[in-house]
């Protein structure tokens, strides 16, 4: 029986592969995280107070982008076709290559390069996905060769709801599948998904990608957080979030999609905590393995998302009542949901930072191996040392707090646009602001809480 717990401190120190990203926990528990968490909450609260006393147009002015000269490269579909070819090769390696998920290129590229790295880069910089989307190029070539035209119209009423289902499916695979990193299993999932989405694209045209294909919807949503975007037909740079203010209003499907991005990300952290294992009645020092928690984690994922949507909606409804407005809940929900994007992005980056620092080394090792550059030693030594652990934790916390501050600023700028004046804007926002302060504390608690799965 001993060896179950034999992991000792390693249970926490293990370097987090993506699916086991407990990490430098033992040292984190020694940090005064209570103080840090309180400081984070106070920072976000102070932002709210400042906005209440400073001139009303300030937030809006902060997010004004500056145009920059830029020659657009004429690559069109080349990068997309290359991405599709790369994906095909990866799937083949997943099926035929080594079974080791930290050596096989498929899980490394999908989970580390794409899911951690590219998604973060997309959110920090802007729409990188547009060029390397692995469906647009192959579909364009097929259209050119065969003269194929999409025979079906994507039903308008379906909106982004198919995308929401896709995102929940993806999150379910990531969080609840017993072996999402198994190369063969992942190859089947990725290969089938790519084929299915290509069929959808050919059947319904580009609307399919923009509404129903969850990865593209997610990437386009995160692109709104990037500093680089297009304004007035030109490339422009601005503070993270400026594109949220510049973007057209979200539909109900997209609004829910954005909340599911955050809800799933938060549950990704929550499901590893002692608290959640306690809810499931499991010994946190004796985690029985993912196959034992498939159903509870799926149910938890759904419940977390439902709870987040409900809490967000309740805050908006309450704020509108306090401010004396008459807007419908649906309109409010669609109006304010994009302000959640910086929190979702911040949590994505913070949550996966340690995993990226470790698994990123496996990517380098695989590359080095493939290019014949010699052995790369994957180390987790920095996670066993208090200094770096503290630095990493504070970095994660800083990102989470920054995400919430941006969210508050965006919500305030949007509220000012309703033309009700600063006082009513602040009043109407009070419940949402309280929600965001609470979510800051929750997000920081997730980073500090002991984890057993």
């Amino acid at each position: 029986m001993r060896v179950i717990a034999l992991s000792g401190i390693c249970l926490a120190l293990m370097a987090g592969t993506l699916w086991a990203h407990a990490s430098e926990q033992g040292f984190v528990l020694l940090l005064p995280t209570d103080v840090y968490i309180a400081a984070g909450g106070v920072t976000v609260a102070l932002t709210v107070v400042l906005l209440a006393v400073l001139p009303g147009g300030l937030a809006e002015a902060l997010f004004r982008p500056a145009p920059v000269p830029w020659m657009r490269p004429r690559v069109r579909h080349a990068a997309s076709v290359l991405a599709a070819l790369l994906l095909g090769w990866l799937v083949w390696r997943g099926l035929a290559g080594t079974r080791d998920p930290l050596v096989n290129p498929l899980p490394l590229v999908i989970w580390v390069v794409f899911w951690i790295g590219l998604v973060s880069a997309q959110g920090l910089w802007g729409d990188l996905w547009r060029g390397i989307n692995p469906w647009t190029g192959p579909a364009a070539i097929m259209r050119r060769i065969t003269g194929w035209r999409a025979p079906l119209r994507y039903p308008r009423r379906a909106g982004h709801w198919s995308g929401v289902l896709g995102l929940l499916g993806f999150a379910g695979f990531l969080l609840a599948d017993p072996a999402p990193a198994d190369p063969g299993r992942l190859a089947m999932a990725v290969g089938l998904y790519w084929c299915a989405m290509l069929v959808g694209l050919l059947a319904f045209g580009p609307a399919w990608l923009l509404r129903a294909e969850a990865v593209t919807v997610l990437m386009r949503a995160y692109a709104r957080m990037g500093i680089a975007g297009r304004a007035g037909g030109r490339l422009a740079l601005g503070l993270p979030g400026w594109q949220v203010l510049a973007a057209p209003k979200a539909g109900a499907g997209l609004a829910v999609f954005i909340l599911v991005m955050l809800g799933s990300g938060s549950f990704d952290g929550l499901n590893e905590t002692f608290w959640w294992l306690g809810v499931l009645g499991l010994n946190p020092l004796e985690f029985p393995g993912r196959s034992a928690v498939v159903l509870p984690n799926l149910l938890g994922l759904m419940a977390a998302n439902a709870a987040l949507v409900a809490a967000f909606a309740a805050c908006l409804w309450l704020g509108e009542r306090i401010a004396g407005g008459q807007a419908s809940l649906r309109a409010l929900f669609c109006f304010y949901a994009p302000t959640i994007l910086p929190i979702a992005l911040a949590y994505h980056i913070a949550h996966y930072l340690t995993a990226f620092l470790v698994d990123g080394q496996y990517v380098l090792a695989a590359l080095s191996n493939a290019l014949g550059l010699g052995h790369v030693h994957v180390t987790t030594g920095f996670l066993n040392t208090p200094g770096p652990v503290r630095l990493i934790w504070l970095g994660q916390a800083g990102v989470v707090v920054a995400g919430h501050v941006i969210a508050i600023l965006l919500a305030h700028a949007l509220a000012m646009r309703t033309g009700r004046g600063a006082r009513r804007a602040v009043l109407g926002q009070a419940p949402l602001a309280a929600f965001m302060i609470a979510y800051t504390v929750f997000g920081l608690w997730l980073l500090a809480a002991p984890r057993g799965a």
């Binding site: 001993r2 717990a5 390693c10 120190l13 592969t17 080791d100 050596v103 040392t385 208090p386």
Partner: protein
């Protein structure tokens, strides 16, 4: 007590003689010729069930490094029976259900000759029945008592690492004679802690000592100060086996509570495996005692074989990676992979193993093993294998933290670690 066997069994003896003759012939060939022969034959496939993901990943990383180093050495020496050894690694996610699936893949998909390398007990217990059904020799490196307890089957063996029962029991004589006879035990309140409680309590009583108090800590606890007043004032030795993310907090709070004036501390290095013993915050561990399966810090009298092993695995004098001095290995356990692979090699050579049809003969050959002298293939020290219980027994080490260094103060005899057989797997049919 175990009953060492007098010799090899009939069929195995013939096979062994045949192999010895073959080995002698092989040895007379020039090295390049042995190599050429080895490379032309199909490799021996070792299915490596590795904790790549899940809660065992830190151990998996070092089990992998040790395994690769051992296989490299074996292959450089001409392989096994003239065939190269190939590792087929499959991640079990530190998950019993997936563990069983992985064992199945080894047998049915990858054509592996054996399964090897599992560490976490629940994965071993989940996988072993499938290995038995598929008649796949399954060599675990788990430390669990589940092999010797009779819970598993004839196809499951643990010849490269000792089990927790023998380790715990072997600590009692030293503790009683040198640290004190009045012991208080602090342990997490589940099976792992209960094993320590039961095994050590019995062992210390047999030494004329007593456990004054058993303090069971709920597994989800992350603050411990409130439990310390339960430690009786006349405690001479505090035996602690805390595990999990809060273990550093435990050590820190214990230090603050006693202020360096308390009883002697005795623990298992498992609590701090892969953590530098001189980490800030662990100063309080100075002068405390730890069980070590193998001495992490290089001792002045370290054998040439152990030094060779350190270098082969890429570990420095403090048990950390030579590439990063902060990357501390799971030194007290990972030697088990190295030694198990060498036992497999010896077993395959003794049985003239040629393919899956010889799996039963391989198991019989290992069952016939008894004393294994220390050497390059057993750098942790000499071992004694019990063919009936499929469990190996060996020396245990007690180290004291002195100036941030783990200094060995005691080596147990193998006899200290023995206990009566609880099973005879050799009576089970193949």
């Amino acid at each position: 007590m175990i009953t060492p066997k007098s010799g090899l069994k009939g069929t195995t003896r013939r096979a062994a003689l045949k192999t010895l003759a073959g080995a002698a012939a092989g040895a007379s060939l020039p090295l390049w010729a042995r190599y050429t022969h080895a490379q032309t034959a199909a490799p021996i496939k070792v299915g490596f069930q590795v904790h790549r993901t899940g809660i065992g990943a830190a151990y998996g990383r070092w089990y992998d490094r040790t395994t690769q180093a051992a296989v490299k050495l074996i292959n450089e020496g001409g392989g096994i029976n003239g065939r190269m050894v190939e590792i087929v690694a499959e991640d079990d996610g530190t998950d019993p259900k997936r563990g069983a699936e992985v064992v199945e893949k080894f047998a049915n998909q990858h054509g592996c000759d054996i399964g090897f390398g599992t560490l976490f007990s629940h994965v071993v217990i989940g996988s072993a029945p499938r290995a038995g059904e598929l008649k796949l020799p399954y060599f675990v490196v788990s430390e669990g008592h589940h092999v010797a307890s009779g819970k598993l089957n004839r196809y499951t063996l643990q010849p490269g690492i000792t089990d927790v029962k023998s380790q715990v029991q072997a600590m009692a004589p030293y503790v009683a004679q040198n640290l004190g006879r009045k012991v208080t035990m602090v342990f997490p309140d589940f099976a792992f802690g209960h094993d320590h409680r039961d095994f050590f309590t019995a062992a210390i009583e047999a030494q004329g000592g007593e456990v004054l108090e058993h303090i069971a800590i709920p597994p989800a606890e992350t603050s411990f100060t409130k439990y310390f007043p339960k430690i009786p004032r006349d405690t001479e030795v505090l035996y602690h086996v805390m595990v999990g993310p809060a273990v550093l907090t435990f050590v820190k709070e214990l230090g603050e509570f006693f202020g360096g004036q308390g009883p002697a501390l005795f623990g298992f290095i498992d609590s701090l495996e892969a953590v530098a013993i001189d980490s800030p915050g662990l100063e309080f561990l100075e002068n405390s005692y730890f069980w070590e399966g193998m001495c992490r810090h290089r001792q002045p009298d370290e054998s040439a074989d152990e030094t060779f092993y350190r270098e082969a695995v890429g570990v420095d004098d403090r048990g950390a990676s030579v590439s990063d001095a902060r990357d501390v290995s799971t030194y007290a356990h990972m030697f088990g992979c190295w030694e198990t692979l060498h036992v497999v090699k010896a077993g395959m050579e003794a049985s003239g193993y040629a393919g899956p049809q010889d799996r039963a003969a391989l198991i019989e050959a290992v069952e016939a093993m008894t004393d294994m002298p220390a050497g390059r293939d057993h750098p942790q020290g000499a071992k004694r294998f019990n063919g009936k219980t499929h469990q190996v027994f060996g020396h245990q080490y007690i180290s004291q933290v002195q100036g941030g260094q783990l200094v060995r103060v005691h080596t147990t005899s193998i006899e200290d670690t023995l206990y009566p057989d609880e099973v005879d797997y050799t009576t089970q049919a193949f």
